[in-house]
Symmetry: C2
């Protein structure tokens, strides 16, 4: 009789890329080695392209610096931020995989209350491979989890759920606070391990943090644009927020789910609150108009793909937010450029068979 | 120098009633003695009024049986269910306090992961005395809790929150499942302690369980009607669900908050799934029409009080749900009767000063 192999194949090994934006050597990967080594990494090097970023031995990766971004995208490179972790979305663009996990290079492996190291990636995969329940709240949280289910009074017709597009993970130690809160509570640490994953209900916006984030690139990829931030732009630190608002509105429209909660990573280092304040202050008052805007967005039913939704959203941004600041006209244009770039680098099956697509990926370095 | 008194006054001691529906001796109170003894209890005895319900010594309580309900409400007693825990709402009606905590008599004190006994009542009070955040999701859960705050990207104008009307607590051990799930998973137990309280976002419905529930009677009391269930009615076990759907729609309209999560109680005893199935089966298919109904309810802006909202809702139930079953016409009428009874027993300050209100509370027994 055949015995089953004891070798465990890492889940989604050939269907998931790990995207890391960085300006430094990636020594933090040592800690993640047991969990990340089987996967392919896409490293987006921010800032000075002449600097060399060291990647620990044994990882399978491709690395892109600003020169690569410019070479690959040509004039469309203008939609990719410079000197800001928003550049990570370039990695989403060039990936050819179905799933993405993205993590910041100051995030380490956290431990659960029993002291066990948390495999964040495997929890994100679990979140992404099980449905979401945005239409009705389940008071015992994720009903698909071992030991849980839908509670009394949960409509049976909703129990199949909807496909999950996004898995938003959390952070122990340094919480993801804005500059004013950092300044007021410099010593606050997140020590509470909340053992739950939950779906953010339909119609509700949330602050999406890009530090520890998984998503289904096929379902929502074209909306995972991190905007224009950093060098030459009037704001920073709103890249992931922008992506989160756009994605949530589009997920709600297309019937896709967004989960938040587990897994935790260990966020090691608080960024400088004074520097952050300078980056954020415009966002802090702009968002008072942005949130009502996103809360009131209604996408027409003709918008049946993420691309169509995103282009419609860019039109609405141009129409309804230009009065807030001319920046939003520039951003609306960049949203269109992003979709152009996405479609160029990710031609549909149909387009691929009729067009002679040239090879566009020429990374600086690829160990594989 | 004066030293502060070491005596701790129980919070809201004179502003909160504990309401318990029961058909048996209340020995379960022994376990709750350290937490409940300072408070006043309202016991609603269900079923045969000639039975004597024993209450452990030392508790301050009033007890109402069916004869009392009939004497106090006269013909309006028809809105109070018989042979069903839905009769608990009679206790909400006769209370004169600002806050209510209601608990089932098969619920015991649970322990937190450190082994400490959980004072469920004090956690409900904390939930009710801090604001809710229904307009935007906070990924670190309750932002008013020690060690937590609003995360980056949370609009500052939303950070004051809204008044909390309802605190929905959870259950360890026996989960609150419907009959089909009980039948399929007879051995499933809830062992997961999720250390979180969160606001159910505006526009999202949830299955409210009456087992372990706190609320602000002044803010939402008149909507806490548990409907027509049990003896002579075609369904049971939808009493708390009905109240929850009505309350949530009204809270959303009036800008009030609903929280769920902590505290846990220990739910000791699973009810009989076969009996439950008989009570529930109509509700299970009716709710497929009820939920879309409640999801689409829009209350006119003239509805500025809970009473006005509730009467409007009763009209909509009559108009839009009568086709589901004639029961909903009866229920709509009972909703109106309930509001009449509420207003009679709870005259406003204004009404009190102009009307000669007779004493209407004549409980069977009152130890005080």
């Amino acid at each position: 009789m055949a015995t089953p192999s004891s070798q465990i194949v890492p889940p989604l090994k050939d269907e998931l890329d790990i995207v890391i934006p960085t300006i430094r050597n990636l020594d933090f990967l040592e800690m993640w080695r047991p969990f990340f080594e089987p996967y392919h990494l896409i490293i987006v090097q921010d800032g000075d392209p002449s600097r060399t970023v060291r990647v620990p031995d044994g990882f399978d990766y491709e690395l892109y610096n600003r020169n690569d971004v410019n070479n690959i995208l040509g004039p469309k490179a203008s939609c990719i931020s410079f000197k800001d972790s928003a550049c990570r979305c370039f990695g989403f663009l060039v990936s050819k995989k179905k799933y993405i996990y993205t993590i910041d290079d100051d995030c380490f492996v956290a431990k659960d209350p029993s002291g066990k190291e948390i495999n964040a990636l495997s929890q994100h995969i679990r979140n992404l491979l099980t449905p979401s329940t945005p239409l009705f709240f389940n008071t015992l949280y994720d009903p698909y989890r071992e030991g849980a289910d839908f509670v009394r009074g949960y409509p049976f017709s909703f129990r199949e759920g909807v496909p999950t597009a996004i898995s938003h993970g959390l952070w122990l130690n340094i919480p993801d606070y804005d500059a004013p809160t950092q300044l007021v509570k410099p010593l606050e640490r997140n020590t509470r391990y909340v053992d739950a994953v939950l779906t953010i209900p339909k119609g509700t916006l949330f602050p999406m943090c890009g530090m520890n984030l998984g998503f289904n690139r096929e379902l929502i990829g074209p909306a995972m644009y991190f905007g224009l931030m950093g060098d030459g732009q009037p704001i920073g630190r709103y890249d992931d927020m922008w992506a989160g608002w756009c994605c949530k509105v589009i997920c709600d429209h297309l019937g896709l789910g967004v989960k938040t909660g587990l897994p935790y990573i260990w966020h090691s280092k608080a960024s400088n609150p004074f520097v952050n304040l300078k980056k954020e202050y415009k966002g802090i008052y702009w968002q008072e108009e942005l949130i009502p805007f996103f809360q009131s967005v209604v996408l027409p039913k003709e918008c049946t793909t993420v691309q169509k939704c995103y282009l419609e959203l860019s039109k609405l941004v141009n129409e309804k937010l230009a009065h807030v600041d001319p920046y939003f006209q520039k951003l609306a244009d960049a949203m269109v450029t992003w979709i152009d770039a996405w479609d160029e680098l990710n031609p549909t099956q149909e387009a691929q068979s009729t067009t002679n697509v040239k090879s566009i990926k020429e990374p600086s370095s690829n160990l594989k």
